[in-house]
C-alpha cells in the first residue's frame, strides 16, 4: 500500500493532477456565482470561501510532513511547495475579492479598516508573511538565502497559520466552532513540529 502510494505520487502525472484538484474550489465557486447559486450575498460568500480555502490549503501543506512521518509515504514531500503556494493563491483571491468586490477599491475605507480593525490587521499580517514565503519559494531563492536562513524564514508559515485562524475567530459573531477547530488543528501541527510524536509503527521511529 505504502509502495503503491509512493509510486503513484512519484509519477509524472501526480503534480498536474494535484494542481488541477487544487483549482476545483475556485472553479466551483465561480461556477456557483455565475449560475446564481452562491446565495443571496455572492460577494461575501466568495470572500468567505476563498479565505476558508486559504486556511485549508495552509493546514494541508503543514500536515504533509507529519503525514509523511506517520505513513512513511516519502513522496508526500513533493507537494509541500505547491500546496503552500495554493494557500497563498487562495489568500490572494480572498484579499482581491475583499478589495475589489466587497469594498469596490475604496482605498481610503480599506486603509482605515486595515489599521482600525484588529482582525483585518492580523489577516493582512498573515498575507504579508505568505507573500514573503511565496516570493522565496523557488529553488533559486533557497540557494540564495542558504538552507538555514530559508528554513528559519519559512517557519513563519506557522505564524501565518495562527494569524489566519485568529483572523477567522475574531471575525465571526459569538463563539462559533469552525474557527476553533481550525485553530486547534493549526496548534496541533505546530506542537507536532516542536515535540514530534513518534508512533511505534512510523518510519521515523524505525529509522
Amino acid at each position: 500500500m505504502r509502495a503503491t502510494l509512493n509510486t503513484l505520487l512519484l509519477s509524472r502525472w501526480a503534480k498536474p493532477v494535484v494542481f488541477a484538484l487544487a483549482l476545483v474550489p475556485l472553479v466551483w465557486t465561480v461556477w456557483l456565482a455565475w449560475t446564481g447559486e452562491l446565495g443571496a450575498e455572492p460577494i461575501l460568500e466568495s470572500v468567505k470561501q476563498s479565505g476558508l480555502w486559504a486556511l485549508r490549503f495552509l493546514l494541508i501543506a503543514l500536515a504533509l510532513t507529519p503525514l509523511r512521518l506517520f505513513t512513511g509515504v516519502a513522496a508526500l514531500a513533493r507537494f509541500r511547495r505547491m500546496l503552500g503556494l495554493f494557500a497563498f493563491f487562495y489568500a490572494s483571491v480572498h484579499l482581491l475579492t475583499y478589495v475589489g468586490l466587497d469594498q469596490f477599491f475604496d482605498w481610503p475605507a480599506i486603509g482605515k479598516e486595515i489599521l482600525k480593525r484588529p482582525y483585518i490587521t492580523i489577516g493582512m499580517g498573515a498575507f504579508v508573511i505568505l507573500t514573503a514565503l511565496a516570493a522565496t519559494s523557488t529553488d533559486g531563492m533557497v540557494k540564495r538565502l542558504g538552507g538555514k536562513r530559508w528554513r528559519a524564514l519559512h517557519r513563519g508559515v506557522f505564524l501565518a497559520g495562527l494569524a489566519g485562524c485568529l483572523h477567522f475567530l475574531m471575525l465571526v459573531k459569538g463563539w462559533q466552532s469552525a474557527p476553533l477547530v481550525y485553530g486547534a488543528l493549526c496548534i496541533g501541527l505546530l506542537a507536532f513540529r516542536r515535540w514530534p510524536v513518534r508512533l511505534p509503527n512510523s518510519r521515523a521511529a524505525r529509522a
Binding site: 446565495g39 443571496a40 450575498e41 460577494i43 461575501l44 468586490l101 466587497d102 469594498q103 469596490f104 475605507a109 482605515k112 479598516e113 482600525k116 480593525r117 484588529p118 482582525y119 475574531m170 471575525l171 465571526v172 459573531k173 459569538g174 463563539w175 462559533q176 466552532s177
Partner: protein
C-alpha cells in the same frame, strides 16, 4: 404620539401593492426583456391570490431606491442561530420548528396578564408594511411584512406605571432548535425595548411576509420587527413578553456587551468595534450604499432619544 401615522383605512388606493406585484417585480428582474416585450400582458402572475389580503400602510418613499428584496433571498439568507450559524442553515433546519400550537404569555408589570394563542393573534387588524431591514453585519434588505403594531398587543395587558421596559423571549426547544445545544449564545434568545420604543407605531409584530404566512426561518409564527434598529433586535418566534421596571438582559449584549448595546439603533456614526457601520450592501446589489441614521426612520423615531448620547448608548 406626535407623529401622524396612517391607519389601514387611510392608505391611498395607489399605495396598496398587491402580492402579485411583488411576483411581477421578481419576474421583471428575472425575465427582464421578455416581460417588457410582452407589453400589456407582462404580468400574468398578478392574478395569484395571496394568503393575506391586507392593506399596505407603509412603503418606501422611493420604490426604486428601496426595491423589495426577492423572496428567495429573504428566505434563504437568514441569521437564526437557533438553527445554526450559517446563513443558509435556517432555511433547511427551521423546517423542524412546530408553530402550532403556539402561545405568547405576557406578564410582569401589567394589570391584565395574558396568554394568547396564535390564532387569536392573527385576528388583530393586520396590515402590510414594507420596511428596510439593516443587519449589524453590514447587509440590508427590504421586506414586506404582514403584522400589527406591538402597541396594540401591549395595550390589551394594560402596563402599570412601573413598566419601563419590555423583555421578549424566543421559544426554547433544543430538540428542534438544535442550535440551542451550542454555546454560541445563552439560550433562549432574549431581546428588549424601552416601553416607549415598544409603544412606537413603527414597532411591529409580524405574522407574515410577501403576502404569505411567515416562513419558519424568518421567525414563525410571530416575531418582532423594529425597523430602526439592527436586525438582531427583531426577535423571532416569540413565546414570552414581560414588562419590567429595569432594563432586561438581551442575548447579544450578554454575549459581547462592547459590541452589541441594548439600544442598537442603526447608526452610521458609531462603528461596531470590528467593522464600520457607515455603509451597507443591499442584498442583490453590487456596490455598497451609505447607511442612514435610524435606518432612514429618524423623522419618526429620533425624538425617542432626544438628549441621549447615542455614542454611549449604542
Amino acid at each position: 404620539m406626535l407623529f401622524k401615522f396612517p391607519t389601514a383605512s387611510q392608505a391611498r388606493e395607489d399605495e396598496v401593492t398587491p402580492h402579485g406585484l411583488y411576483l411581477s417585480r421578481r419576474a421583471l428582474i428575472g425575465g427582464g426583456a421578455a416581460a417588457l416585450a410582452l407589453g400589456g400582458t407582462a404580468f400574468p402572475q398578478a392574478a395569484r391570490a395571496a394568503t393575506f389580503q391586507v392593506p399596505t400602510t407603509r412603503q418606501p418613499a422611493d420604490a426604486a431606491l428601496d426595491a423589495v428584496t426577492p423572496i428567495k433571498s429573504a428566505t434563504t439568507y437568514n441569521n437564526f442561530y437557533e438553527f445554526g450559524t450559517g446563513k443558509a442553515d435556517p432555511a433547511d433546519g427551521a423546517k423542524a420548528l412546530r408553530t402550532r400550537p403556539w402561545t405568547i404569555t405576557i406578564d410582569g408589570e401589567v394589570a391584565k396578564p395574558l396568554t394568547i394563542g396564535i390564532d387569536d393573534l392573527l385576528k388583530f387588524s393586520l396590515e402590510e408594511r414594507i420596511y428596510r431591514l439593516r443587519c449589524v453585519e453590514g447587509w440590508s434588505m427590504v421586506i414586506p411584512w404582514i403584522g400589527f403594531p406591538l402597541a396594540e398587543l401591549l395595550k390589551r395587558v394594560e402596563p402599570t406605571g412601573n413598566a419601563k421596559f419590555v423583555a421578549f423571549q424566543t421559544l426554547m426547544d433544543p430538540e428542534r432548535m438544535y442550535g440551542q445545544k451550542s454555546w454560541v449564545l445563552e439560550w433562549p434568545y432574549t431581546e428588549g425595548l424601552r416601553l416607549d420604543e415598544a409603544m412606537h407605531p413603527l414597532a411591529l409584530m409580524a405574522v407574515g411576509m410577501y403576502g404569505e404566512i411567515l416562513p419558519n426561518q424568518n421567525g414563525a409564527p410571530i416575531r418582532l420587527v423594529v425597523p430602526w434598529k439592527y436586525g438582531f433586535k427583531s426577535i423571532k418566534s416569540v413565546v414570552k413578553i414581560t414588562l419590567t421596571k429595569t432594563q432586561p438582559p438581551t442575548a447579544w449584549n450578554r454575549s459581547q456587551p462592547r459590541e452589541y448595546g441594548f439600544y442598537s439603533n442603526v447608526n452610521p456614526e458609531v462603528d461596531h468595534p470590528r467593522w464600520s457601520q457607515a455603509t451597507e450592501r443591499r442584498v442583490g446589489d453590487f456596490s455598497r450604499r451609505k447607511t442612514l441614521p435610524f435606518n432612514g426612520y429618524g423623522d419618526e423615531v429620533a425624538s425617542l432619544y432626544s438628549g441621549m448620547d447615542l455614542r454611549a448608548n449604542y
